[in-house]
Amino acid sequence: MINASLKELSGALVSKAISSVELTTLFLDRCEKLNPLLNAFITLDRAATLAEARAADARLATGGVNDCGPLLGIPLAYKDIFCMQGWLTTCGSKMLANFVSPYDAHVVEQFKKAGMVTLGRCNMDEFAMGSSTENSFFGPSRNPWNTRCVPGGSSGGSAVAIAARMAPAAVGTDTGGSIRQPAALCGLTGIKPTYGVVSRYGMIAYASSLDQGGPLAKSAQDCALLLNAMAGYDARDSTSLQRPAEDYSRNLEQPLTGIRIGLPKEFFAQGMSDDVRAAVDAALAEYRKLGAQTVEISLPNSGLSVPAYYVIAPAEASSNLSRFDGVRYGYRAPDYGDLSDMYCKTRAQGFGAEVKRRILIGTYVLSHGYYDAYYLQAQKIRRLIADDFRAAFQQCDVIASPTTPSVAFEIGAKSDDPVQMYLSDIYTTSANLAGLPGISLPCGFGAGNMPVGLQLLGNYFDEARMLNLAHQYQQATDWHLRMPEEL
């Protein structure tokens, strides 16, 4: 049951083969057993979770699946960035370690409507800033494939929960790769939708113009079902897009004949490790077997995406995180003199090192005299990157690359070298800068038998096609079905 797809779980629930309480208990038991080792969850609340499961069973009993859809009664793990009424919503920070949200994020509302059961709240890099989940105030999460390694980040806890089969599915957020990168490092499928498809209301902001919520799961098929539930217009988010609802599963079974997969020469030229290259090459060969063709394309400005990202994201973050001032909620330093002292101590004590680093960078690049050279320049690069993609999609339908340049590294290996850490986002940030959708799917194993992820980038609103490509690959391969040895 813990390896079952969401579709299979739904079938079992509807046919009464298992109740939501039974299914949820199964996962809760694993959570409680494995969490001390893996630290995937910040908050688990068996009583609250089972109450939701009982409510789901009641709806299942009255044919609620017809109203709610196929996710009714299935447990779901949330990255601790989505505000959820009555639950601690910490965002991985000491600053919010005591913050119980008085309201639900739009994404939470959507999944509650779909009848999913809240399994718990997943660990993450503090305020989603990081690529390893080492920046959590609650300690690092561990990769179930090798517990000495990081799971990636910032949605690391969500990825660990699924990889270790503590949860059948999870939601994360992706600002520069925070869904795709942990999905890759943990052998999962994760999709970052087009900017604006998923409402940001109630999703604690890191970098507003880049943040986008999305699902993590074992397969593309599961991701499609989850995206069906979480996508949708929300008037409370001015950047939410008003579009007709779509079924992201609709194209899963389409053959790939004639599909053109673009391979950016800049991505394949250098930078990726050999094991990753081998796995990606094999995946591309598999795609050709499935009828797709590969074409070389160019994204001339892609090398600028990490620098541009690390100007724009910190700039927005420096402003977004100003609200954590100790005045109204969250952490406040216990001892302080005047107001300025209260601010300084609260923020010095409440934020971790990486958050402070990015606030400082962001404050600097927005400062008088530096704004033009950094922030404006980065915005221009952002437009150039978007233009590159526009041109590339004239020649191909999707763009393939590795998700990360190497497999999961050991905990602590890059902690002292922020630039090295930032470069693990080299293939992922451009999609956020351009607002494009991206998916990562497992495509084999590399050094140390650690998972390798293949990234597919699509044109705006082309999620259904990307899921189709991922699903067809997963019909032909079984990488996504592999799980770490029992821990």
Binding site: Y201, R236, S318, S319, S322, R328, L366, S367
Partner: protein, 521 residues
């Protein structure tokens, strides 16, 4: 104070917009609620909340732009102004910086004479821009035992910040501009103008220079919430700057506060500790795009503007510019005036008699006439009389009883009835004031009813008046003698005696004529 200094003033005015809800949330903006009950999750800046622009606030900006003949930007951008303060929950204020919603525009003002004998004059003040932004909350420093309380009810209240060019040259001009702007924003219905509640507040940028020299260093006086304070603050600041410079000192750019208790300005922060607000476009909000069709629909619903109405009053009723400005100080006053005139105009056969000049404070107003005097004829004189009553006795009485014109116990129709009885010499202007008081106190439904009930009808029978005059002359031989000796003052005393004898009911002009005839005869 030396005369060889030029004063340069620019104003920034924050007008609170009359929307139902806040500019970026659905919370109410009604004044006076208990602290923090009108602060929703967005206003509290809870983690994860996002702003959504209130279209009604944008519409207010469009109305204002149309009212001052400005350009409404087809695309403007909201920006974040970053600074920490406990009553600024997000740690930034959402405002507009590089691309404001309203660009340019003008406001024509009429400046009252600075001293007796000087002339009132018109001036056009150029606006730089007007932009939308949110207000902060309030910090309450009392009643918290040395701590500060935060009330976020005001946080997120929509404001239009209206910025002028440095066009004004005196405190009087600044006040005239502020009053005209205050009238305009109320006129077009975008602001209630309640200055005590902070709905309309001004910052004044003041500098001085020698004629022909470049602009001096300015100091900004913050948060002036009454016209009197605006006047006092600028006057003090100008005096201080000139004295400082004449004493060989230098002006340093600074933000200052005006203390009404001392009448002085004092520096709050200097340029050196000016903050870097790190403005950047707010990524939570899309650029504000205003389609021409939206502007057109707002335009179609605009009322006649005060400038247009003022011109029409001068043209149609022959009013002076000053009277026209006074009567268009608010839509309610203009409406009252026009209703009064309409009611008066319904009675026909008005004699073209020139009216006594002592009505209201018409005499002082008359010295300010800057355009051609009324062209005469019944409607012009009637208009002038109505205007005098409204700007004089009615205004004074409203002021005394702290009433708005909409609450006046004397209706426009009632006032018209009074004006007509004076115009046709049924009562004197002096008795008119008694009738006005009686109307105010609700002693009768119309002027006619009160005149009838009190027997105030003017004595016009010249035989009766002559008889009275004879008695007065007989009783005051000394005055008669003095007059004959050339003392004009004695004549006035005799008129006074005669009027007194008739209990004010004689037509003073008639008394005058008959008396002069008898004395001169």
């Amino acid at each position: 104070m030396s005369n060889s200094w030029e004063i340069v003033i620019g104003l920034e005015t924050h007008a609170q917009l009359r929307t139902n809800s806040k500019i970026f949330s659905g919370a109410s903006i009604a004044f006076g609620a208990s602290p923090n009950v009108q602060a929703c999750a967005v206003d509290l800046a809870l983690p994860g909340v996002l702003p959504v622009l209130n279209k009604a606030a944008v519409e207010c900006a469009i109305r204002f732009g149309l009212a001052v003949g400005a350009e409404i930007a087809p695309r403007s951008v909201f920006a974040r102004k970053n600074y920490f303060y406990p009553d600024l929950p997000k740690g930034y204020q959402i405002s507009q910086f590089e691309l404001p919603v309203v660009k340019g525009g003008t406001l024509t003002i009429l400046v009252a004479p600075s001293k007796p004998g000087a002339q009132a004059y018109e001036k056009t003040v150029h606006l730089t821009r007007a932009h939308l932004e949110e207000d902060a909350g309030k910090s309450l420093h009392e009643d918290f035992h040395g701590k500060t309380g935060i009330d976020l009810n005001r946080a997120g209240t929509p404001l239009l910040e209206i910025v002028t060019e440095p066009d004004m040259c005196s405190a009087a001009e600044a006040v005239a501009y502020a009053k005209a702007l205050h009238a305009l924003v109320r006129w077009v219905g975008i602001c209630d103008g309640n200055m005590q509640e902070g709905s309309f507040r001004c910052d004044a940028n003041v500098s001085v220079r020698r004629p022909g020299e470049p602009l001096g260093t300015r100091r900004e006086i913050k948060n002036l919430n009454s016209f009197r304070f605006l006047q006092q603050a600028i006057e003090y600041e100008v005096k201080w700057q000139i004295e400082t410079l004449e004493d060989g000192g230098r002006i340093h750019q600074a933000t200052v506060l005006f203390d009404p208790a001392t009448g002085q300005t004092r520096s709050m922060r200097s340029k050196e500790d000016a903050q870097d607000y790190r403005y950047f476009p707010d990524p939570d909000l899309l650029p504000l795009e205003i389609a021409p069709t939206w502007i057109a629909s707002v335009k179609a619903a605009m009322p006649e503007l005060p400038a247009e109405m003022r011109t029409r009053f001068e043209r149609e009723y022959g009013l002076s510019a000053y009277d026209a400005v006074a009567l268009t100080a608010s839509r309610e006053i203009a409406q009252y005036f026009e209703d009064c005139l309409t009611a008066a105009g319904k009675e026909k056969d008005l004699p073209p008699t020139p009216l006594p000049g002592e009505g209201g404070d018409g005499s002082s107003l008359r010295s300010m006439v800057i355009t051609a005097p009324p062209r005469g004829g019944p409607s012009a004189t009637l208009a002038k009389t109505c205007a005098n009553w409204i700007m004089g006795d009615l205004a004074a009485r409203l002021n005394k009883d702290s009433k708005e014109i909409g609450e006046a116990p004397v209706s426009p129709v009632q006032l018209a009835s009074l004006v007509l009885r004076i115009a046709d010499n049924t009562i004197s202007n002096k008795l008119g004031k008694d009738v006005f008081d009686a109307l105010w106190n609700g002693e009768g439904a119309s002027a006619d009813a009160i005149i009838e009930a009190k027997g105030l009808k003017q004595i016009t029978d010249s035989g009766a008046i002559e008889k009275l005059i004879d008695e007065v002359l007989a009783a005051n031989p000394k005055s008669v003698e003095e007059f004959r000796a050339g003392k004009e003052k004695a004549f006035n005393a005799l008129v006074g005696q005669a009027m007194k004898a008739t209990k004010g009911k004689a037509n003073p002009q008639q008394v005058n004529e008959l008396l002069r005839k008898k004395l001169g005869g």
